[in-house]
Symmetry: C2
Subunit: 233 residues, 2 copies
């Protein structure tokens, strides 16, 4: 019991972490159950439970009722990406943000998205193309479908002062969604818009959000060359 760490749940978590990192408890090994640890640390079982729950959330230990707690064999690398509104992302870089709506029309949903959107949509879909700038240099290119059944107010929005990206965050909160990250070669159109050469490797993401079982929006975002999405693990 090396440290002066008190019997706070964070203190206990640190001690448990140490034992895992320093291999006192091997991967796959079962660790003492809550009651024993509580006695050892001289605290309530609730407090040990809190520490263990936290470790389980981060994937370092696996817990099962009756079976006990064991150190994870392959602790997954979990990384929490925070994907901010693009304006905030640009401003956090200390650069001036602006955006430009380059295309807007009502159009039927492309067949490619019928599966993703999972419902029979009328033609009540708004399609937008937007370019986001940082200090007047293109930062990202956005193609977006908005389900007007889910966000009817979007029909009357110009999206010139506030971007669809930001407007939707404030006006059409979602309950869940899917995100995928990938790389694309710049097409001629993309190269022109993002001020690069055809064929350049570009970082891209696609996101679909729902509220309940109603799809709200599908967005495909392609970042300018050199973009990196970073996070701590």
């Amino acid at each position: 019991m090396s440290l002066a760490e008190t019997n706070s749940w964070t203190g206990i978590r640190e001690e448990l972490l140490r034992r895992i990192h320093e291999r006192e408890w091997q991967p796959g090994e079962q660790i003492p159950h809550e009651a024993d640890l509580a006695e050892e640390f001289g605290c309530a079982r609730t407090t040990v439970n809190r520490a263990l729950r936290d470790l389980a959330e981060s994937g370092l230990v696996i817990r099962k009722r009756r079976a006990g707690t064991r150190v994870a064999l392959n602790p997954p690398q979990k990384a929490t990406l925070t994907i901010p509104v693009i304006r905030e992302e640009v401003e956090a870089l200390g650069r001036a943000y602006r955006h430009s709506l380059v295309f807007r029309e009502m159009r039927p949903l492309p067949p490619m998205l019928h599966g993703a959107f999972q419902v029979a949509l009328s033609d009540n879909v708004l399609f937008l193309k937007t370019v986001h700038f940082a200090d007047d240099r293109p930062f990202a290119y956005e193609e977006r479908h908005i389900n007007l059944d889910a966000a009817p107010a979007a029909r009357d929005m110009a999206f010139d002062t506030i971007s669809a990206n930001e407007w939707l965050v404030h006006n059409a909160p979602y309950s869940h969604g899917d995100l995928s990250l990938f790389a694309v070669n710049a097409t001629d159109e993309l190269a022109g818009v993002l001020d690069t050469v055809t064929g350049a490797a570009l970082f891209a993401l696609e996101r679909i959000t729902w509220t309940g079982d109603q799809p709200i929006t599908h967005v495909r975002l392609v970042y300018a060359p050199g973009y990196r999405m970073r996070t701590d693990i």
Copy 2:
């Protein structure tokens, strides 16, 4: 009070979520404090606390002592990426995994990584190039530096039966790290290894892990064309 949801903390969380999603509580608005909610739901304050803590973790509400709890103005889009060991990723796709160590030598750390590794390293660095296969088709290409001061046992490992990726997870647990995701064009070498054409857009990641203040490994992973990293949000 619509649902039959009991006074479990998850039930209460769902009800709070509903009020936020349906705008009963506007963004930025202060919500009743724990004691009032506990009375309304007929449960203990601890239970409300648990639900609110969960919402705060996901960024939907902001909590401050004495100041109370308010609905977040710009709920950040948080996505938790789970980056598994490549073998598991491949096997989860129902494909057969194997890997091939194509290069291995002791070499000084390249200057480019001096900053990242943040310590004056001797020449005690192992450099590896590995190709990961799924059903005999290249899946990802890996370049890795291992700090042998942090993981001395790696010096004697062949990394032919078990990949460095997996060995390090089991034998050199890290306390923290940095991850970045980006896109690269296939060089001639990459194209050859990944069975694609020069210039193809490839999804890539770089990761550095430390234990305490000692760097363990730097890895650059480039996936074969078409790869998508997916997650729920």
